[in-house]
Subunit: 260 residues, 2 copies
Amino acid sequence: MKNQILKIVKIGGNVINNEDALRSFLKDFAALEGPKILVHGGGRKASEVSAAMGLEPKMINGRRVTDEATVEVVTMVYAGLLNKKIIANLQSFGCNAMGLSGADANCILAHKRIVKDIDYGFAGDVDAINSEIIGVLIKNNVTPVFCAITHDKNGQLLNTNADTIASEVAIGMSNLYKTELNFVFELKGVLEDIEDKNSVIEQINSEKYEQLVVKGVIADGMLPKMHNCFNSLEKGVDKVKIGDASLVKSSTKLYTTLSL
Amino acid sequence: MKNQILKIVKIGGNVINNEDALRSFLKDFAALEGPKILVHGGGRKASEVSAAMGLEPKMINGRRVTDEATVEVVTMVYAGLLNKKIIANLQSFGCNAMGLSGADANCILAHKRIVKDIDYGFAGDVDAINSEIIGVLIKNNVTPVFCAITHDKNGQLLNTNADTIASEVAIGMSNLYKTELNFVFELKGVLEDIEDKNSVIEQINSEKYEQLVVKGVIADGMLPKMHNCFNSLEKGVDKVKIGDASLVKSSTKLYTTLSL
């Protein structure tokens, strides 16, 4: 199947938090031809449910610190509510989607992050992707939809960064398919000038990436995102694109393509 | 595969509400040989989460009335928290479980219950089982684990009785396998004398069933349960057993077997 392109598309809070934007994106995703996988992050619902249940969300360096009560809430919201709403919507648009956490059929095996300076609690770092069973699903015209929950095979569920899941799934599937990883975020791509939303840098290779970091064009939250992208390319992913929710439409021309 | 027996085991609140009882049951279920499917109900966690979120659970004739806020909560709790906890535990016991709602790969298609006297809200009545994809999973050594959430293929998730799901899945799969449906509940079986927990009636056929109803031995909550069981037998399920959580252990001798 190495001549077929498998697209792995990741969406985050900016799409998930807006019901209309989400439905519109899912309609476009359903229409996308060829084998595909969706990976979704959490959005603000987890914080709302946490608050309603009397838990206070804790963040360190932009990552949620996951105590036992919080892993229960994110499992409810990510694997339950959001994942199944996405599935029901995709099914209504004719896409035979199946929602999965990393625990399901051991699709994504992880371990609790080793404590160095900061204890992130039940945060998972990915060890392995079960590309065989994911491949079986795809061959049977099923579209896997992953939430950002993994497990350690010792019975513990783990909260895992959705960008990382998308990358690891794409890397893991690249033994079976040519893989294209699409990161959907709030901008049209990586911007030359943060004030100009249309100043998209259309092509970035590793050399240009280093220059952009030195110039300070790529900074803050974009740094781990881009690091993640180049890591995927180095580990076998064929192409990475970054753009807004229109990225999955074939008519869209403005986005950033990353290559080594 | 008609010479292979597929077991469909349903557990309810009495197992789910007790963490130790649940782990112990899941260990036994993981050890059960041959193809199998688990179906789980909800338990008291949904009411706890509803209460924490300021919703008041409404019941009519022992069935939850599901408004929009409630369908969100049951989706979170059943498809999210409970289903993924069960999966993580089964994985830890070496069972390659995969958690599914009816929306996933359109496994269980339903419609919102028609309003006659009572409006049950977003309660789903089952229309069809996608035995093909469930069969693919089983052939790939995956154990499907269903929560009691279905969908209508128009984007709406529906709360569905777990006993009904177990029956419908067993009926649906009986075109591919010999099927044995196991209902795990709080008693060792159907009791001759409700005061004597060991007075299990070991065999009940349809004739005896009618006699037991007339005598009042089968009454109240057991009536819809037994009706459900005989309906499954009439529609192609080979065997139905009712008993407590030890039902899945091969050493267990005391339970009720139903036949036509």
